[in-house]
C-alpha cells in the first residue's frame, strides 16, 4: 500500500499536486454505514487511492472483558454487530461452552439455530435496504425495514429487547419461547416468502442497479482469502466456505440434519433449490453485484432453515435447561471459535485462568477484514463507485471498532 505517512495527524490536507485532490468522505458522511472516514486521493472524478480511518466507535470491549464474567460480557457482544446481535451472543456463548466442554440440551440447540437464522434474516434485510440507499433509491430501504420490524416484534416477545437482546447466553438461552410464538413466526414466514420476489425486481434485476454494481469492485478469490474476508464477501468471490458446514464440531453439530446448500457460485451456477433470478451478463464473479446476490439467496436459505428448526424445536420435549451460574469458574486454558455471522466469520478467543473472570477475551471481527480489502477494490474507480463498493461489503462499524 502506498506509503502515506502524515506526521501531524490533525492536518490531513498536506501539499498535493495541483491536479490531484485529497477529499474526505465521512466520518459524518450519510452513506458510509456509521462512523467510517475514507480519505480519497482523486484526480477529478477518478479515485486513485482510498485510505480508511476507523476507530471512531472504539470502546475497547476487550479490556472490559478482563473484568467481567463471561455471562456479564454478553451485552458487550450485542453491541459489536448491533444488526445481528443474536449471532454475536451465540458465538460468545459457544466459545465459553467450548472452553468448559459444556453441552447444551438438544432443544436449546434447535432454539439457537432458529433464533440465529432469524437474526441473519433481519441483518441481510438491513444490508439490502442500506445498499439501495447507497445507490440512490430510497424505497427498498423502507420495504426492508417494514419486514425487519416484524422480526424485531418476534424477538421482542422472546427477550423484551428489539436491538441488543442478550438472549442467547452461556448454557442455552435466558428463557424459553413464549406460547404461541411459533405460530406467529410461521405466519411471518408465510407472508414474507412471496415478498422476496418483489425485492429481486426492485433491486437485483433492476437494469440501473446492475449497471451500478456489475463489474465494480472485483475481488479475486486469492485476494479475498489473503485479506481474510469471510461470509458473503468471500462467497461472492466464489470461495465455497460456510462455517455452518465446515466449522468446528461444537458449531456444526447444531446444524446436523438440516438440509441446506452453501450459497456460492460453484462450477458456474448458484444452488438451484429455488427459482432465483438469473445472473446478468455483465456481472463478474467477485463484483459488488454477486456479493449482494449471495446475501439475497441466503435470505431464502435462512427461511428454509427456520422452518426446519421450528419443526425440530416443537418435536423436542422437556425443559430448555438452565443457563450456567453468573460466576461459573472457568478452567485454565484457552479456546477460540468462529461462527458464521451474517457479515462473515466472527471469532471469539477466551483465555481462562481458573477464576470466574477470563484473563483475556478477544473478538475477531469479520467486517474488520472485509473492510481492509477496500483500498484494493477502489483503486481507479469513480467517486460514485466508492459508496457502491463499501455498501456491497456490508460493514458495521460497531463490529470493526469493538
Amino acid at each position: 500500500m502506498a506509503q502515506m505517512v502524515d506526521d501531524d495527524p490533525r492536518i490531513i490536507e498536506f501539499d498535493v499536486r495541483t491536479d490531484e485532490m485529497l477529499v474526505n468522505m465521512g466520518p459524518q458522511h450519510p452513506s458510509t454505514h456509521g462512523v467510517l472516514r475514507l480519505v480519497l486521493r482523486t484526480d477529478g472524478e477518478i479515485v486513485s487511492q482510498v485510505e480508511s480511518h476507523i476507530g471512531y466507535l472504539h470502546r475497547c470491549a476487550e479490556k472490559i472483558g478482563e473484568n467481567l464474567t463471561p455471562r456479564q460480557w454478553i451485552p458487550y457482544t450485542d453491541r459489536m454487530d448491533y444488526l445481528a446481535a443474536m449471532n454475536m451472543n451465540l458465538g460468545w456463548s459457544l466459545t465459553v461452552e467450548k472452553l468448559m466442554r459444556y453441552q447444551v440440551s438438544e432443544k436449546a440447540r434447535h432454539l439457537r439455530v432458529l433464533i440465529a437464522e432469524l437474526g441473519r434474516l433481519a441483518s441481510h434485510l438491513v444490508g439490502m435496504g442500506a445498499y439501495g440507499l447507497d445507490l440512490g433509491t430510497f424505497s427498498p430501504f423502507l420495504y426492508a425495514f417494514r419486514e425487519r420490524e416484524k422480526i424485531l416484534d418476534l424477538f421482542e416477545e422472546t427477550c423484551g429487547a428489539r436491538l441488543t437482546y442478550s438472549y442467547l447466553t452461556v448454557g442455552g438461552a435466558t428463557a424459553d419461547l413464549p406460547p404461541g410464538w411459533l405460530e406467529k413466526c410461521e405466519a411471518f414466514l408465510d407472508q414474507f416468502t412471496p415478498l422476496i420476489a418483489e425485492y429481486h425486481s426492485l433491486l437485483t434485476t433492476n437494469a440501473i442497479f446492475v449497471k451500478r454494481t456489475a463489474a465494480i469492485g472485483i475481488l479475486s478469490e486469492a485476494l479475498a482469502i489473503d485479506y481474510g474476508c469471510s461470509g458473503p464477501v468471500l462467497r461472492g468471490s466464489g470461495v465455497d466456505q460456510d462455517l455452518r458446514r465446515d466449522g468446528e464440531s461444537i458449531y456444526t453439530s447444531m446444524y446436523d440434519g438440516y438440509a441446506f446448500e452453501v450459497v456460492v457460485q460453484k462450477n458456474g451456477h448458484y444452488p438451484r433449490d429455488h427459482a432465483y433470478p438469473p445472473v446478468p451478463r455483465e456481472a463478474v464473479v467477485g463484483d459488488s453485484w454477486h456479493r449482494f446476490y449471495v446475501r439475497m439467496l441466503e435470505v431464502v436459505q435462512s427461511v428454509d432453515l427456520i422452518r426446519q428448526a421450528m419443526d425440530r424445536y416443537s418435536a423436542c420435549r422437556g425443559p430448555l435447561g438452565e443457563p450456567l451460574k453468573i460466576n461459573e469458574k472457568l478452567p485454565v486454558g484457552d479456546a477460540y471459535l468462529e461462527t458464521e455471522c451474517p457479515r462473515g466469520q466472527m471469532g471469539f478467543y477466551l483465555v481462562g485462568d481458573g477464576t470466574p473472570i477470563p484473563w483475556r477475551a478477544r473478538a475477531r471481527s469479520s467486517s474488520f477484514s472485509n473492510l481492509s480489502v477496500l483500498h484494493e477494490l477502489c483503486r481507479g474507480c469513480l467517486i460514485a463507485d466508492v459508496p457502491a463498493i463499501v455498501g456491497s461489503l456490508d460493514i458495521v462499524m460497531g463490529e470493526i471498532d469493538r
Binding site: P9, G228, Q345, Y349, V351, R364, S372
Partner: protein, 176 residues
C-alpha cells in the same frame, strides 16, 4: 488432524524453530521461537498438505499481575504471549501458533518488544498487526505502515496492557 505426524514433519523441516506443542488441548497449538515466526508461517502456508492460507486472528496476551499480593501466588513470570490462529480453506483445518515475548524489549520499560511481521505471508496481517501494535504495544519488524488504527494517532500508552493507566485528559476532554 493427525497432529503428531504433522508435528514431526514440521520440526524436521524447520530445525530449532518449534520449541513446544500441546496437541491434546481444546485447540492444539505449537510454540515457535519469536524471531522465526515469519519463516514458520511461510512454511505452514506453502506445504502441500497443510496450506494454511488464511490467518484468522492475532492476539497479544499480557501475562502480568499488577498488584504484588496476587503476583506472588502466580506461577508464570510476566511476559507477553502472541497467539496466531490459522485456518486452511482447502483442508478445512485450523492450527494455533504461540510465541512468548518479553514485556519490554531488554526489560527497558517503554521499549516495545519486537517480532517479525507476517504481512509478507498474509496481507490481512497488515491491519491485525496494526491493531495489536495499537492496543498491546508490540512492534512488528517489516510492517509497511505501522500506525495506530483504533485509537487516535496521538494517543499515549497501550490500553490492553495490564499496567495501563487511563490518561487524565485528552485534548481538554476529561478522561477519568
Amino acid at each position: 488432524m493427525r497432529g503428531s505426524s504433522f508435528l514431526e514433519k514440521a520440526s524436521s523441516e524447520l530445525p530449532g524453530a518449534i520449541i513446544g506443542s500441546n496437541l491434546e488441548a481444546i485447540d492444539p497449538w505449537i510454540e515457535v521461537v519469536a524471531e522465526r515466526i515469519a519463516e514458520v508461517s511461510q512454511w505452514l502456508k506453502k506445504t502441500p498438505e497443510s496450506l494454511f492460507d488464511s490467518l484468522e486472528c492475532i492476539t497479544a496476551i499480557d501475562w502480568f499481575e499488577p498488584d504484588a499480593k496476587k503476583a506472588a501466588k502466580v506461577q508464570w513470570k510476566p511476559h507477553i504471549e502472541m497467539v496466531y490462529h490459522l485456518w486452511s480453506t482447502v483442508a478445512r483445518a485450523s492450527i494455533v501458533i504461540k510465541t512468548n515475548l518479553p514485556r519490554w524489549k531488554g526489560d527497558v520499560v517503554g521499549q516495545l518488544p519486537e517480532i517479525p511481521s507476517v504481512t509478507g505471508v498474509w496481507r490481512t496481517a497488515d491491519w491485525h498487526e496494526r491493531e495489536v501494535f495499537d492496543l498491546s504495544g508490540i512492534f512488528f519488524i517489516g510492517h509497511p505502515d505501522l500506525r495506530r488504527i483504533l485509537c487516535p494517532e496521538d494517543w499515549v500508552g497501550y490500553p490492553l496492557r495490564r499496567d495501563y493507566e487511563m490518561p487524565l485528559e485528552y485534548h481538554g476532554i476529561r478522561a477519568r
